[in-house]
Subunit: 187 residues, 2 copies
């Protein structure tokens, strides 16, 4: 999609990497916008650049979509609780909190962005951040998947993975790891 065809594999050149992330992240958000506009789908995208800058897209808002996802996870997990007893102690508490604290359902114009837009595009924090990832929901997802409630998307599994998407190594770091409050943009 450009003057030359490129292999979809890890870019090593730092500058090219940044430029590519910048361009393609915009393209991804544009596609997400189009999808929402065309179909009214509820959609969220969370992205951390190679420089660990977070980017958000959401309709009607990123958090609402995340919350809905977490709530559905919780609901499905509790429906499924008859079979597995949340033995690992890694989930359940969190989700019960989530479920019990749904005070307000209304869509009031709390964080709406445009007059009638309802989209959020965000480009957060400029500090090098490197927070731990929590694993609480993993067992829930796994349970759902094993239970057949969640199916892997075969289209993507086949069509995408067969190209040569998996020839790169992910263990790389970009520029300053987390100590430098850099000013780099978009990456």
């Amino acid at each position: 999609m450009g003057k030359n065809k490129i292999d979809i594999k890890k870019i090593n050149n730092k500058n090219y990497l940044k430029a590519t992330f910048s361009k393609r992240r915009k393209g991804l958000f544009r596609k997400a916008t189009d999808l929402c506009c065309l179909t009214g789908a509820t959609l969220a995208v969370i992205a951390f650049s190679p420089g660990n800058k977070p980017f958000l897209f959401g309709h009607p808002s990123a958090e609402s979509v995340i919350d809905r996802f977490l709530a559905e996870q919780a609901r499905c997990a509790s429906d499924d609780r008859k079979e597995e007893v949340l033995e690992s102690g890694s989930a359940g508490v969190e989700h019960k909190n989530l479920e019990s604290s749904r005070e307000e359902e209304k869509e009031g114009g709390q964080g709406m962005d445009e007059e009638n837009g309802n989209f959020w595009w965000e480009e957060p924090i400029d500090e090098g951040l490197e927070l731990p990832e929590l694993k609480k929901y993993k067992s829930l997802l796994e349970r759902l998947r094993e239970n057949g409630a969640i199916k892997l998307d075969e289209m993507n599994r086949r069509e995408l993975c067969t190209k040569d998407y998996f020839g790169m190594n992910w263990g790389f770091e970009v520029g300053s790891s987390s100590s430098t409050p850099s000013e780099e943009r978009d990456v």
Copy 2:
């Protein structure tokens, strides 16, 4: 992007709507995959089709990305706590739980999908579901935004919104609302 140019606005024809969601959702996930493969970005996409079926994409996994996002939110909020005292009582508790429960940091092959893939594409639940959306994180996001830690993505604001993305009404429903355990695929 096809035989004819189409306006990026709400599709009303149900069949066309479904077909379009199906195609474009795949395209979106493909773009997400490309972005991850090229740049190593950490990325998650959560989508609910017009028929309320959830779809997930994530690298290294959707939940890990969501968790990281929530954790960063929590961290930023607590850093910012000196100025605003969590007065609205809508957030804070949840996030403190999130922070305090980060037991394991390791990336062990818990939910890895392919031998070296690390991607997840999922196509969940076949029931018509309609869960409430939780609002807990909203005030946090708002605080971050007001604080300047989160910046709106001007590119998207301008370039995308100026087209005619905002001429549709979102209050529509597709097929059965939530009572029919339909078998429709991908939408």
